[in-house]
């Protein structure tokens, strides 16, 4: 009796057939629930403007925002701006991740390096990253380099902290298992530390990417001739709220999509996690 209870319980959690109804609910109904509020509000606003209760000049209705996006897309402007912004985020994120991972790993793994390095990094972290902007412009010019540097700085700190913290919190008991099987240093890293650190690492990448998107706007505010941030400034200066909203919507879509890409690509590596629920955030 005990055994049957046990096997049916485990079968219910891991066979796809048993979870199919719940899975379908999760895949379709939950995102729909989440869309209800924004889509509802947008429709109400659309109706309010269509009925003439508001002129919608400062808060343009969704149809006008959508029209702006399609217009920008047709002229090829949109792709140019998106490419410019994506390139900056991509380069800054890559640099920040590489540096953050290297420094974080060294600090986490090697006590002497941590005592040497960490106080300085923590002190630098306390500086609001935007404060670097004037210096970066002086050092690196007003073009791409300074923008990418700012984004990289924003991405660096969460990744550094995430990697170091994850290494320091690896369970000593699990490391001991590696020791009893006489793993060499590199094997210990590959077979114990890397997989143990991975969940926290993915989280720090996602936080870093979020900050990357934040800093690209700041970077593009300080003088850019293209990019989504430029669209925002341009819309403000020329009084085109629809263009500002269009850029915001595209930021939201790009931010969510890139975050989702990290989540999706790391999911197969994290299936073992007890708490991980694929699609649970949707």
């Amino acid at each position: 009796m005990l055994m049957t209870l046990e096997t049916t319980a485990s079968a219910a959690t891991d066979t796809p057939t048993a979870t199919a109804p719940a899975g379908r609910w999760r895949r379709f109904a939950r995102p729909v629930l989440g869309l209800l509020l924004p889509v509802g509000l947008a429709l109400i606003w659309e109706a309010v403007v269509a009925a003439g209760w508001s002129n919608g000049r400062l808060v343009p209705p969704p149809s006008k925002v959508f029209a702006t996006i399609t217009e920008l897309a047709r002229s090829g402007e949109l792709i140019r701006h998106i490419t410019a912004t994506m390139t900056r985020v991509g380069a800054g994120f890559a640099l920040g991740v590489v540096a953050g991972t290297l420094f974080g790993a060294v600090s986490g793994y090697w006590g002497l390096a941590r005592r040497l390095l960490d106080p300085t990094v923590q002190a630098l972290r306390a500086i609001p990253s935007i404060a670097w902007v004037p210096l970066f412009i002086l050092w690196l010019g007003i073009f791409e380099t300074s923008k990418i540097a700012l984004i990289a700085v924003g991405v660096f700190f969460p990744v550094y902290l995430g990697v170091m913290g994850a290494i320091l919190s690896v369970d000593r008991k699990i490391v001991e298992v590696g020791r009893t099987f006489r793993l060499s240093g590199p094997a210990m890293i590959r077979r114990i530390l890397l997989p143990a650190v991975l969940p926290a690492y993915v989280v720090s990448l996602r936080v870093g990417l979020g900050l990357g998107w934040m800093f690209v706007v700041a970077a593009e505010f300080m003088g850019a001739s293209e990019g989504l941030g430029y669209l925002l400034i341009d819309g403000q200066q020329l009084g085109k709220p629809a263009q500002i909203l269009a850029a915001i919507v595209i930021f939201a879509i790009l931010g969510k999509t890139t975050d989702w890409l990290i989540e999706i690509s790391s999911a197969p590596l994290l299936r073992w996690q007890d708490a991980f629920r694929p699609g649970g955030e949707g």
């Binding site: 046990e6 485990s10 959690t13 891991d14 008991k173 699990i174 001991e176 298992v177 020791r179 009893t180 099987f181 006489r182 793993l183 094997a187 077979r191 114990i192 997989p195 143990a196 991975l198 299936r271 073992w272 996690q273 007890d274």
Partner: protein, 261 residues
């Protein structure tokens, strides 16, 4: 033959955990180490495992002095300590990383079948019950075919029913290759049902207090009178070990039991 020669351990914080512990353990013998808390049982086991170095004395297995984990020595902890990112099968094969894939797969499959978890090969550790997880841990430790298997209160976190089941199962597995088993426990019943010899330790600092030879044939009947009398002997020794007024058994003598019985 495993020789423990006056093994002592003082931790850096000054705690004197273990004092000149000596014993000789034959190949294939099952020894239970029992004692109150703080008597250095786990310290001793970790020293034998090579996880912590003894501050004095030596652990010698077949003329090899053990100072670091050795391939002939396996250990099972109180918790299963499975690697959560590996399937059950990969956990069992963890210690065979240097063997060819085909050999590893064959030995893992055999071990899975032997512990009755063949259907769980692809499961994640989180999907196992406590008893199943500990069986995987036993299989993982046994698959590299150690000469000595150390068990640090391996069943204490399990319910009574599962514990008995696993004790019997452990004896079955032991009979396959007959490694030396050294079992730290605080469960008198467990010590008497498993061991050829029970070493009773006394605390602060941990020392060997007395040893009791359990010359009962296996399988042992937990309800027999003889079994009960051995349990009483171990219990009495445990009681005396906590009584500060009783002097220690001479740790150099292996015939300590003659002093009391």
């Amino acid at each position: 033959m495993l020789k423990l020669e006056r093994v002592g351990k003082t931790y850096p914080n000054g705690v004197h955990a273990l004092e000149r512990f000596s014993a000789e353990i034959r190949q294939g013998e099952i020894v239970a180490i029992i004692g109150g808390s703080g008597c250095g049982k786990s310290t001793l086991l970790r020293a034998i495992a090579g996880l912590d170095r003894a501050s004095s004395g030596s652990v010698v297995l077949d003329d090899i002095t053990i100072s670091a984990p050795h391939e002939k020595i396996g250990i099972i902890f109180q918790e299963p300590r499975l690697l959560p990112w590996l399937s059950v099968a990969d956990n069992i094969g963890f210690g065979l990383g240097d063997r060819p894939r085909s050999e590893r797969d064959a030995r893992v499959a055999a071990a899975l079948a032997r512990v009755g978890l063949a259907d769980k090969a692809k499961a994640w550790p989180r999907e196992l019950s406590g008893g199943q997880a500990q069986r995987v841990a036993i299989a993982r430790a046994l698959v590299p075919r150690p000469e000595v298997l150390l068990l640090d209160e391996p069943f204490s976190a399990l319910d009574a029913f599962t514990r008995r089941d696993l004790q019997d199962h452990l004896l079955d597995l032991w009979a396959d290759t007959r490694p030396t088993l050294i079992l730290v426990t605080h469960d008198v019943d467990e010590a008497v049902v498993l061991a050829d010899r029970v070493l009773v330790m006394r605390p602060r600092p941990g020392r060997l207090f007395e040893q009791i030879i359990i010359n009962l044939a296996r399988p042992r009947d937990r309800n027999s009178e003889l079994f009960d009398s051995f349990k009483r002997r171990v219990l009495t020794a445990l009681d005396r070990s906590l009584d500060r007024s009783v002097p220690d058994a001479d740790p150099k003598s292996t015939a300590g039991e003659a002093m009391w019985w």
